[in-house]
């Protein structure tokens, strides 16, 4: 920009703030800054005046008060005597739970549906096209309401399992009961109780569970090491040693040992009184919401996957066929890895959407963050300003984390490009 032929700086005049490119940027920015600050000050001033007029203040003390309401589905201990803060955390964990489950299931469903939509099988391709179009073009709220209603109307109530000749029966060797309230599944108990690991804040995890997780992680690491070794062997000698029995053993043996060590027993749900007891109950509010989110987002992901696969040039597929690869292997070894670069960025933004859409839990009564902090807590304490601000901040942080992950992935892809 600098004009090399220009004489030494001309004397500064006020109009240069506008007409001189060197200063204009600064002028504009300062003006914008002042305008934004004035607007912000105006909004804050209004808020303060309104709060004063209502006789309210801005404080988060309500988070320390007794909540007084119950939450049916929770991941950490909570009773009506707990504080609003704890209710908020329970809600947040519920939001995370349904989001993570939904993201995993929707991705699996979306990839399968996207691949099958391109299948040669006419009937399957048509069916999946119908699935994708129907779910994409109808509001998510309707799907949540309908799926929840189907659960309520089509599944039997727990007392249908009662009696000599019950109207409904449990599935999978009498271990799982599908009712219109919840799915009762068996739970595991350790007879020789090893005690629990305290994570603080009343959250306890049985050492047995910790041991199983550690054993599994160790097995995964060992399994990868073995595969690496096998690959090296293959490169060296041309023959790949058989490793699957060792790998299988790595996963199975420690699990079996731990199982007997802790004396794990399976406790099946049995009907006691009004409800099933003994096992754990997964509430339909969660399952219906999860299913609706999965089906809805899965349709979008299927479109993304399809577009990604179509973006890989046909020559790649033909080359793979020429090499004698079967269609399945062509897809998994040649096409999908290349399509991934196109698929992943929009996929992550679908995960973001799913996380935000989980706030529609309001339609099933699933107690997520919006239902606890932004719902009952807000309503009982009347602290709408504080509760809403806090809730939006939490959602914002969640999505920033997800989009941060997307940026890291994008950066990594870009580095690998030649």
């Amino acid at each position: 920009m600098a004009d090399t032929a220009a004489p030494a700086d001309p004397p500064f005049r006020l109009s240069m703030l506008i007409y001189d490119r060197r200063y204009r940027g600064w002028t504009i920015q300062i003006v914008v800054f002042l305008v934004v600050m004035t607007a912000a000050a105006w909004l804050i001033n209004n808020t303060l005046e309104n709060l004063a007029a209502l006789g309210k203040d801005f404080s988060f003390r309500f988070l320390g008060q007794r909540a007084g309401y119950d939450i049916p589905q929770r991941l950490i201990p909570y009773t009506a005597d707990s504080t609003h803060l704890r209710a908020t955390v329970v809600g947040l964990l519920n939001t995370l739970l349904v989001s993570i489950l939904g993201c995993i299931a929707a991705t699996v469903l979306g990839v399968v549906a996207g691949v099958l939509r391109l299948s040669n099988n006419w009937i399957v391709a048509r069916l999946l096209t119908i699935y994708v179009e129907i779910f994409r073009n109808i509001p998510l709220l309707l799907w949540i309401l309908v799926i929840y209603a189907i659960f309520t109307e089509a599944l039997p109530p727990p007392n249908a399992f009662r009696g000599e000749d019950p109207a409904a029966s449990m599935v999978l060797f009498d271990s799982i009961a599908l009712t219109n309230r919840y799915t009762a599944i068996p739970s595991l108990h350790a007879t020789s109780d090893p005690g629990s690991l305290s994570l603080g804040w009343g959250v306890l995890i049985s050492w047995a569970a910790v041991a199983f997780v550690l054993a599994f992680v160790a097995a995964v690491i060992a399994h990868r090491a073995i595969r690496r070794w096998a690959k090296a062997r293959q490169e060296e000698t041309g023959a790949r040693p058989t490793t699957w029995p060792i790998s299988l053993g790595l996963y199975v043996v420690p699990a079996v040992v731990l199982w007997f060590w802790f004396g794990i027993t399976v406790e099946r749900p049995v009907l006691a009184g009004f409800n099933f007891a003994g096992g754990s109950n997964v509430h339909n509010a969660l399952v219906a919401l999860w299913l609706a989110l999965t089906l809805y987002t899965g349709a979008f992901i299927a479109e993304i996957v399809r577009a990604g696969i179509l973006a890989v040039s046909k020559g790649q597929t033909e080359a793979a066929y020429a090499l004698g690869l079967r269609p399945g292997r062509t897809m998994s070894l040649v096409v999908l890895p290349q399509a991934l670069r196109v698929i992943v960025p929009p996929l992550i933004s679908q995960w973001l959407n799913l996380t935000k859409n989980s706030s529609l839990a309001i339609a099933t009564g699933y107690m997520d963050l919006r239902a606890t902090l932004g719902g009952t807590t807000l309503n009982q304490t009347g602290r709408e300003l504080e509760a809403m601000v806090l809730m939006m901040l939490i959602y914002l942080v969640l999505s920033l984390i997800i989009s941060g992950g997307m940026n890291i992935y994008n950066a990594r892809i870009r580095l690998r490009e030649r």
């Binding site: 504009i28 920015q29 808020t47 009937i123 073009n137 109808i138 935000k356 859409n357 914002l396 999505s399």
Partner: protein, 485 residues
């Protein structure tokens, strides 16, 4: 003879082979079946699975649909009719609820005598968007406008529109059709006037007030032209001040004077009567059209060289995109009044429209940013080489191309927003999906009707969204084809 020959030579053919039938033709049902459904074990399995799914769905739903009842005064009567017709224990759909509450699902509680006004407003919408969406496709324009005109007039006639209005709307539609054949760009003037017209038709009252709001823009432009050419910043400031002064003080005065001379008023309708699909479409269309200019500004700001401007744009966009719409709706319902000067209070529909607009603007900004990024660098350089300043370059070269590329994305955003308008149910508005259906169920005659309203609203949403998504896909392929030339 033949025996001798056979002994001496290993093999010689001595008889003609019987003729084979010609090879199977490369088409036909059997071959199609074999190739598309039964080409391998996996494929056969998939086919069987597919047929099983279809069979399961059809056999589950068909008897219910086959027993549909269209005329009844209540769910009990419906059930009685079904039992009488098909025997004890059968179930059937009771579409009578849709039949009886049809107007509530479509117009909410809008005054029945005035139904023609929303119909006219949405019919004219097609004339207004024709020069924007179907800018260089004469055939599409012709088809869309023609169909819209016929449907609008038929619908208006069906809801008993006054003859004068019927003629007026017909004249405008035909005028639009003719103009779009001759000079589509002239229709843009109608697009500019349309918001005023639509507002007036939907809410009623005096036409002068919305006209004066529109006039504000002309006043600003006039001042901009009048004030000295030498001082661009001064012109800008003067124009903005003039617009504000016009809106706040002069405009209302003029409107009152004019209204006293010539009323031009139609019956006013309050927004609490809006409901059903009328509400969804009003919110969706308003939000998307208002979010377009906002989105352009945000997208330009996000690509700006000025760090502060860029930072503000990024903050706004990421904030809005990071928060669920339902939270923003609760802000509209619970908090917006906190942020306004004490003593002001907006209509809830207006507050919802504001928040949905902001929400749409953030998504729109990202779509347009994509369009801007898709332009080849040479376009920017060419604009620079011509010596155009920033705004001229954007206005004349960059934006027209970027917006054209973004139209599929814009339509996609619109579909998303339109579907999301159902969430207004959670702040107490009568959306077609939940609140209207709930209020129908609150009446004793229709208690317990769950599936029919869901299926009905779902079908309408599907038709509208599917049509729009097909249009956007068509545009996309056309754009791609255009690129390859």
């Amino acid at each position: 003879m033949s025996e001798i020959h056979a002994e001496t030579v290993g093999y010689t053919r001595n008889t003609m082979l019987p003729p084979q039938p010609p090879p199977q033709r490369q088409s036909g049902a059997i071959l199609w079946l074999r190739e598309n459904l039964l080409s391998g074990p996996l494929n056969i399995l998939l086919t069987i699975l597919g047929i099983a799914v279809v069979w399961y769905l059809v056999s589950g739903v068909w008897p219910w649909l086959a027993n549909s009842v269209w005329r009844a005064d209540g769910l009990q009567e419906c059930r009685a009719i079904i039992t009488a017709r098909a025997g004890e224990g059968t179930t059937g759909a009771c579409w009578a609820v849709i039949r009886e509450r049809w107007w509530q699902f479509t117009f909410g509680f809008y005054p029945r005598a005035l139904y023609w006004r929303p119909v006219a407003a949405f019919g004219l919408l097609f004339v207004a968007i024709a020069p924007i969406l179907f800018a260089d496709e004469r055939r599409i324009r012709r088809v869309v406008l023609g169909v819209a005109a016929v449907l609008t007039l038929l619908a208006m006639w069906a809801v008993n529109a006054p003859d004068g209005w019927l003629v007026a709307v017909a004249a405008v539609m035909v005028g639009g059709l003719v103009l779009s054949e001759r000079r589509p760009s002239a229709l843009l003037a109608f697009s500019g006037f349309y918001p005023v017209l639509a507002y007036w038709l939907l809410w009623g009252g005096s036409l002068w007030q919305p006209l004066m709001v529109l006039a504000g823009f002309f006043v600003g432009w006039g001042i901009y032209r009048l004030v000295g050419r030498g001082a661009p910043i001064l012109r800008m400031v003067a124009a903005v001040l003039a617009v504000v002064a016009w809106w706040l003080w002069l405009g209302p005065l003029v409107a009152q004077t004019l209204a006293a001379a010539l009323p031009l008023a139609i019956a006013a309708v309050t927004s609490d009567t809006f409901g059903g699909f009328l509400l969804s479409i009003t919110i969706g269309v308003t939000a998307i059209s208002m979010s377009l200019p906002l989105g352009i500004i945000l997208a330009l700001a996000r690509r700006s060289d000025l760090p502060l401007v860029k930072m503000l744009a990024v903050t706004f966009i990421e904030f809005i995109r990071g928060v669920p719409l339902i939270a923003l709706l609760f802000v509209a319902s619970l908090l917006l009044n906190y942020f306004l000067p004490p003593g002001t209070s907006f209509d809830i529909i207006l507050r919802v429209i504001i928040m949905v607009t902001l929400f749409a603007a953030a998504y729109m900004a990202e779509v347009i940013r994509g369009g801007l990024a898709a332009l080849p660098r040479g376009q920017y350089e060419a604009a620079d080489a011509l010596g155009l300043d920033y705004w001229k370059a954007q206005r004349l070269i960059i934006l027209p191309q970027a917006l054209k590329v973004s139209i599929p994305g814009i339509v996609g955003t619109f579909i998303g927003i339109f579907k999301d308008t159902t969430l207004v149910t959670f702040v107490g508005l009568y959306d077609p999906l939940k609140s209207t259906a709930d209020s129908v169920r609150a009446s004793i005659a229709w208690k317990g009707t769950y599936w029919e309203p869901y299926i009905f609203t779902g079908a309408i949403f599907f038709i509208l969204c599917f049509a729009m998504s097909r249009y956007s896909m068509y545009l996309e392929t056309r754009l791609k084809r255009g690129d390859s030339h």
